[in-house]
Amino acid sequence: MKLFCRCIATASSVAEYRTGPIAVSNVRDYSFTINSPELSRVRNLSNSLILVLALVLSSACSKPSATDSANPAGEYQKLLQTQLIQAKPGDVIMIPEGGHPINRGLSLNVSGVTLRGAGMDKSILSFKGQLQGAEGLLVNASDFTIEDLAIEDTAGDGLKINEGRNIIIRRVRTEWTNGPDENNGAYGIYPVQIENLLLEESVAIGASDAGLYVGQSRNVVVRNNRAERNVAGIEIENTISADVYGNTATGNTGGILVFNMPDLPQPGHSTRVYKNIVSGNNTDNFGAEGTPVASVPAGSGIVINSNDLVEIFDNDIADNDTANIIVSSYYATGYQGTRELAAAYDPYPETIYIYNNRFSGGGSSPDGLDLKALKVAMFGLSGRIPDVLWDGYVNPDKLDANGKLKPEFGICVNNGAAEVLNADLPNGSDNIVVGDPQHRCEHEKLPAVVLTPPLG
C-alpha cells in the first residue's frame, strides 16, 4: 500500500502492484489493531484497479502544449524590461495601475531594488500567451523587495527568486485565472536558496505545483498569506528554520507541505507551522506525474515528508478528506526506484511535535483506493481516518533495545482526542495501529525564527 496515491507506472511499481494480497495480522496487545480478511479482499481488488488506473494515467500523459497566440505586449513591456536592466541599487521601480500584457520573461540581476505596484488587484502583469521565459519574473539578486502587484497566467513559474539574501515578498498575487489546470505553470511564488526571507500577505491561486514554494532556504517567515486551488498550497522544502503562520490554505490538493527531497545540497529541518487555517484541501491532484507533489493525495491538510524537527500547533485544521495531517517518509511516495538513496539523505520524518491544534472533520473520504479500503475496513462507511496518518517507517539505526524508535526521534501528539494511525507500510500494512501510546509524548519546542537583519 502507498499513502501517496498517484504512482508512476514504472517497471518496478507495476511489479509491486502485482504482488497480490497483503496479510493483515500480528495483533498486538497494547492498542487497537485490525485483522480483517475483508480488508484483504478489498486490497486485492484495489491493487488490480490501481494498476489499470496507473496505466491509464501514464498513457494519457502527453498533452499538447498551450497555444502561444502572441499577446499584444508592447511599449510598456519594453519600458519595464529596460528599467529592470538599467536598475541601480536603491532604485524603486513603480508598476502603474492597470493590466499590462507581457509576452517574454522579465529578469532583474541588480541587488537593492524595490519593485512596487499600486495593489495586487490593481497593478497586473499578465503573461497570457507568453512566448518565452520559464517564469514571469526571475530575480537573481539580494536585498530585493517586491510588493503590491499581481503576476498572472505565466507559462511556467510566476515569480522566481534564485539565490539571494534579505528578500521581502509582500502582497504579491500570482494566479492562473482559469483555475486549476494541469497546463498551468508550476509555481506561483518561488524563492529558492534565500537566506533571510519574509513572504507575507500574498496570494497564490491555481499553480500546478506549489502556490507558495520556499526551497533550499534558511531563516524564513511565511505569514498571513492565502493559497487556494493549487496542487500544494504552501510548500517548505529543504529549508532550515522556517516559521509558517497566519496563513490560509484552502481548496488545494494538499494545504501545507514540509518536505525534504534527496540529492540537494541542503537537507531541511526546524519548521514551525502554527496559527494557520488549513481546511477543505480536497481538489483533485492536477500536477504532472513525476513531480514530487503529483503523488500527494487530494484531501491532505498538512503533510510532512522526510523532514525533521517540525512543530505543528495552534492551527485550525478541518475537512481535509484524506487526513488532516500526514507524516511520511520518502519510501511512501513512490518516487524511488530500486537504486539506493544517497547515503547523505535522511528519508525519515523525525522529531515531529503536534499539539493544541483544533481539528474538525477530515479523513472521511480519502484519495486512493488503498486508503479508501483501509478506511472502510477499519472505520466503516461513515467513519474517518484519524487526524494524523503516519506511514510507519522508522530509521533502523535509531531503535532502542526494544526495537522501538528512540523517543527523541518520534512523532509526539499532544492534542486532545487526536490519534495517530500507523499504516505500517514497511511491513505491508500487516499491523495497522491506532493510538499507540508511544505518541503520547512531548518534544522540546523550537525557537522562533528571528529575521536578521529584520525585514518589514
Partner: protein, 367 residues
C-alpha cells in the same frame, strides 16, 4: 615547417590587411546605438565582413540556437593575447571584443515569404575570403561580449531591414521565422535575448555573478577550422599568431566517442546553468562535461522543481528508456513551461534529440 606556414598565413591575415576603420572599445556605460561603431563586424554593400584583426573561430560543440548559423569572432587589442586555461574559458585581455552574429540562409521561397529560412544542422560556413553575401543570408542579430577592467559586459544588437547595420536593443526582440528543410517546417518566434538574459546564461557561477564567455575553452576550441586554410588546430594557429599563450605544445584533439559527443552537447546547451555552482544547482542536476554520468548527471534522478517539464516521466535519465526520461522530454518541446534550455531555444533540435535519444537507449541499467 607547418608552424612556419601557419605563422605566415596568420601574419598575412592579421597584419597586412588594412582596417577600413579602427576597432573602438566604447566605455562600458556608453555602448553605441549602432554595431558599426565598434568596427568589429561590418556590412558593406551586400557583404558582411569581419574587420582586419578580427579572428573567427569555431567550437566543437556549439550551443543550439534555433538552427541559426553563427559567426563567432574575437578581437584583442594589438599586442595583447589571451592566456590558456585547461578547465575554464581562456583569460582575455581588457579591451577584448567577442562577437557572435546569428544569421540564416534564405530559403528558396524567400521572395514569396520573407520569413522562410533554411533549417540546417551545421555550423556557419565562412569562406576563407571572410565575407558573407547578404542577398543569400538573413542577418538577425550580433551579440557582443566586451572585456572591461571590472569584467565583461553583454550588448545585443539587432540587424535592420536594410541589413546594413544593427541597432542596440537591450530589451531584446522577437522575429517570426519559418524554418524550412526538405522534410520539415517549423514556425518559430526567434527571440533575441535582452541584456539581462545574456547574463543569465553567461554567469556559469551563479553565486559569484560574474559574466563570462562560455565558448572559448580548450575542449571547445581544440579543433581545426577551415578559415585557416589548413588542418592545423585553432589553438596552434592562435599560439603561432601570438593570440594565445600558455597552451601545452602537445595538445591532442579530444577523443570523440559517441558519449563524448553527447556530453559535449549537453555541456554546451545546459551546463551554463546545470553545473555545481550554476543557477540550476537548485535542481542538483549537473551536466558539465567534467561531471561523471551518475545520479547527479540525471541517471535515475528524480526531479525537484520540474513542474510541467516532467512530462509524466519519473527520472531525468532512465537508462534504456528515452521515452521515460525527463531530459529528453524537455528537449522535445518548445513550450516555455517545458523547454530546456529555458532561454535561446524556440525550435526543436531534431538532430540533438536523436543523438541524446540514442545514447539513453543504449545506456545499460535499471532504476
Amino acid at each position: 615547417m607547418r608552424q612556419a606556414a601557419a605563422l605566415l598565413a596568420a601574419s598575412l591575415l592579421l597584419g597586412c590587411a588594412q582596417p577600413r576603420q579602427d576597432v573602438v572599445v566604447h566605455p562600458a556605460e556608453q555602448p553605441p546605438a549602432l554595431l558599426s561603431e565598434w568596427g568589429v563586424v561590418l556590412a558593406t554593400g551586400n557583404r558582411l565582413e569581419l574587420n582586419a584583426g578580427v579572428i573567427p573561430y569555431e567550437l566543437n560543440a556549439p550551443l543550439f540556437s534555433d538552427y541559426a548559423l553563427k559567426l563567432r569572432a574575437v578581437w584583442m587589442p594589438p599586442g595583447s593575447h589571451a592566456e590558456f586555461d585547461a578547465s575554464r574559458e581562456f583569460s582575455f585581455p581588457v579591451g577584448t571584443i567577442i562577437s557572435k552574429t546569428f544569421y540564416y540562409e534564405k530559403a528558396s521561397d524567400w521572395a514569396a515569404d520573407r520569413h522562410a529560412v533554411v533549417m540546417t544542422d551545421r555550423q556557419h560556413e565562412l569562406p576563407p575570403a571572410g565575407s558573407l553575401l547578404t542577398d543569400q543570408y538573413l542577418l538577425l542579430e550580433t551579440r557582443l561580449l566586451v572585456r572591461y577592467a571590472d569584467g565583461w559586459r553583454a550588448y545585443p544588437y539587432v540587424w535592420n531591414a536594410a541589413q546594413d547595420d544593427a541597432r542596440l536593443e537591450i530589451a531584446g526582440d522577437v522575429h517570426a521565422l519559418e524554418l524550412v528543410s526538405a522534410t520539415d517546417r517549423q514556425s518559430i518566434n526567434y527571440v533575441v535575448p535582452d541584456a539581462n538574459q545574456c547574463s543569465n546564461c553567461h554567469t556559469p557561477d551563479h553565486s559569484a555573478g560574474e559574466l563570462r564567455p562560455l565558448g572559448p575553452k580548450a575542449w571547445q576550441m581544440n579543433r581545426s577550422y577551415a578559415w585557416w586554410d589548413d588542418d592545423l588546430g585553432q589553438l596552434q594557429h592562435w599560439t603561432a599568431a601570438g593570440l594565445l599563450q600558455g597552451a601545452p605544445a602537445d595538445l591532442s584533439a579530444p577523443a570523440v566517442t559517441a558519449e563524448w559527443r553527447v556530453k559535449a552537447y549537453l555541456d554546451a546547451n545546459c551546463a551554463h546553468c546545470h553545473n555545481p555552482v550554476g543557477a540550476a544547482d537548485t535542481s542538483a542536476l549537473h551536466l558539465n562535461i567534467e561531471a561523471p554520468v551518475d545520479r547527479h548527471y540525471g541517471v535515475c534522478k528524480t526531479p525537484v522543481a520540474v513542474g510541467r517539464g516532467s512530462g509524466d516521466r519519473p527520472y531525468d535519465i532512465y537508462p534504456g528508456r528515452p521515452d521515460d526520461s525527463i531530459l529528453l522530454y524537455r528537449m522535445q518541446h518548445a513550450d516555455p513551461a517545458i523547454a530546456m534550455p529555458e532561454l535561446g531555444r524556440s525550435a526543436i533540435h531534431t538532430e540533438g534529440v536523436a543523438m541524446v535519444r540514442a545514447w539513453i537507449a543504449a545506456m545499460p541499467g535499471e532504476c
